[in-house]
């Protein structure tokens, strides 16, 4: 499972705010920089304009330790702008996928054709460049610990890495590098005019804005130039803006995005300072409807027909699992984070490359082998439980004890989980 830290960070920050069950309005003037995850939105009621007159407080984290952690968690394998050297191609998730899809990767045409369907994801991830000038450190800290999907048209999302709260604070301190935008007051800004600008500038052609009246322009995934498509995939849902951005950072961004983050796909709309403040006021204060989370799929009964391993591979294991639980011998010793470790994960030696290895289990936290089919107290096989956990994560029900799989990718459908569960229930026939 292909896994990227940096891009996910950005997306997660946005999502975090939106996923609070009970959005609690908080004073808008002083964005929190607590290391504790906020776990929800700083939903602002209409009329309560954020002022942020005071400069945001610096994070208490240790940037030097954060740098070490960014290396340990291999953020640069997925994200640019980490301040780390670019990884070798063999470790560069995005670069490798891009080369395979473009037919430039050094492999036979047959191999490239075989791989292409499996590397559609992670063609792009958000750059972490100038993160400190853009995102709220507190949001970053929360996002790192509980990432959620902020980019509705980007299939992968930031995986939940094994980061402690303290580590997240250090990483955020490093990634923001002490850069902070100027404080900005939005007194007198006109949110209604901001809404009109949002329409006039066709912001909706790239951005979703869930929770408000629909924008006239709508993103059209799969239509337009490649750059337009990339922009749509990377564009966050604007409902998360209030959690991710301070008023000062947002106004700077809206005025000159290229100056804040060179190379950004966000175009400059030649806004006047007053217009930028109006737009920021709307994005930060317009009332939002509660977030619409994915419904938790119904758990289907096990199938009565026979299910073979080949079918499970074709429908599930070969589709997503093997990229992170692969055969290390065939990949220069890197069997993926779920096998030989990486991205901060310790090697669990879970190899799903063959029938026999799938039955060979994994190393538990104590370093002992155990079956991935061992039943949990409720009778659910462990493997199935992790698949269901991913479905629950998408429904906003994160279980800190169980990391949902596939990590950072969409949950399996009810039918796919049913197939796996049926195969296990039938004794895992070959």
């Amino acid at each position: 499972m292909r896994v990227t830290t940096t891009a996910v960070l950005l997306a997660t920050v946005t999502l975090l705010a939106a996923c609070d069950d009970k959005p609690t309005p908080t004073p808008a003037s002083s964005p929190s920089v607590s290391a504790a995850p906020s776990g929800g939105a700083r939903a602002l009621t209409s009329g309560a304009l954020p002022h942020a007159a005071a400069a945001p407080v610096a994070l208490a984290g240790d940037a030097a330790e954060g740098q070490r952690l960014v290396e340990q968690y291999e953020c640069s394998r997925c994200h640019q702008g980490t301040g780390q050297p670019a990884p070798k191609l063999a470790l560069d998730c995005v670069g490798c996928h891009q080369q395979i899809l473009a037919g430039k990767f050094p492999a036979s045409p047959a191999k490239l054709a075989e791989w292409k369907p499996h590397v559609a994801y992670y063609q792009e991830t958000p750059s972490l460049e100038a993160l400190g000038r853009r995102l709220e450190p507190a949001y970053l800290v929360a996002f790192l610990q509980r990432p959620e999907d902020v980019r509705p048209h980007l299939v992968p999302s930031m995986p939940r890495l094994p980061l402690s709260a303290e580590q997240a604070t250090h990483v955020a301190a490093y990634l923001t590098r002490g850069e902070r935008p100027k404080a900005q007051r939005l007194d007198g800004a006109d949110p209604a005019h901001g809404r009109a600008l949002l329409e006039n500038k066709s912001c909706g052609s790239c951005h979703e804005f869930s929770g408000v009246a629909p924008l006239t322009a709508r993103p059209k995934p799969g239509v337009g130039s490649e750059e337009q498509q990339r922009a749509i995939r990377l564009a966050p849902d604007l409902r998360h803006t209030r959690d991710r951005w301070s008023p000062g950072a947002l106004v700077e961004w809206l005025l000159e995005p290229e100056r804040v983050k060179p190379g950004t796909l966000m175009p400059s709309h030649s806004l006047s300072p007053a217009e930028a403040r109006d737009l920021a006021a709307y994005l930060l204060t317009t009332p939002l409807e509660p977030p619409r989370l994915k419904a938790l799929p119904v758990r289907l009964p096990v199938l009565s027909r026979r299910v073979r391993y080949a079918e499970v591979v074709e429908q599930v294991i070969g589709v997503t699992c093997r990229h992170c639980h692969g055969d290390a011998d065939l990949t220069l010793g890197d069997g993926g984070p779920g096998n030989t470790g990486g991205f901060g994960f310790t090697p669990r030696r879970m190899d799903l490359s063959t029938y026999e290895r799938t039955n060979a289990g994994l190393l538990n936290a104590q370093g002992e082998r155990e079956s991935v089919f061992a039943k949990l107290p409720d009778g659910t096989p462990r493997l199935v439980a992790s698949l269901i956990a991913r479905q629950r994560e998408e429904a906003g029900q994160v279980d800190p004890q169980v990391r949902g799989m596939p990590l950072g990718l969409p949950a399996l459908s009810a039918e796919q989980v049913q197939l796996v569960e049926s195969w296990v229930a039938q004794g895992r026939p070959r």
């Binding site: 026979r306 065939l330 026999e356 039955n359 060979a360 289990g361 082998r369 061992a374 026939p429 070959r430």
Partner: protein, 231 residues
Amino acid sequence: MTHPKRIPGSFLAALTACAALTGLSSSALACGGDWGPAMLEYEQDHRPFAVSLAEQQLEDGKLVAAAASVIRSMPHVRTLSAKKSTVVARAQRTLAVALVRSGGALSLKGQVPVYARGKWEGKSQADRQANLEWAAGALRAVSATKADDPSVKTELAEALARLESHRQEARGILEELAKKDLIASPEGYAALAELRRAAGDEPGQRAAAERCRAMAGEGAGLCGAPASAKS
């Protein structure tokens, strides 16, 4: 007066070309039909592809085909050192498992050139025994480098179960794996069932055979007949 024999111009031209090529090449073999040294620079090592094919054939239950793929690509596989090469280790592992599941005798006629068949066909009891012992040794070597891998342990135990003097060791490995539901293949459960039967543990034998049948699916014949069919 005699004149020196005239050398044809075309021969001289060919000689010149050969001399030029020989001079440019790092090997004098460049002229004369054997272009090996020049071509080797671009030649792909086909062994990984052959081993990959063999592994797939083994997974599909095509034992002889899997073994033949290995032997054709590495005729001296028996004497190669797996420590120096992952490809060799994988080749030996595949061949060893195919050998064990074939009882030490592979019907390689038509699949492998005569010179490469050696004693793999196991025509005598001694050859079959030697093949099984080689297989167990090869799998033990693989197991030593993958000490925490139950799939290798299962295969090693399967091989040891075929050797009279190692059956106790085989049962020890399989019983330990069975406790944690880590026997990786139906063949492993079949071996455990047989070992339990030989030890007089009939309930244990039935349980292992049942597990074998569940995992084997359509290949349940390797697990022996169900208890009801025997009675």
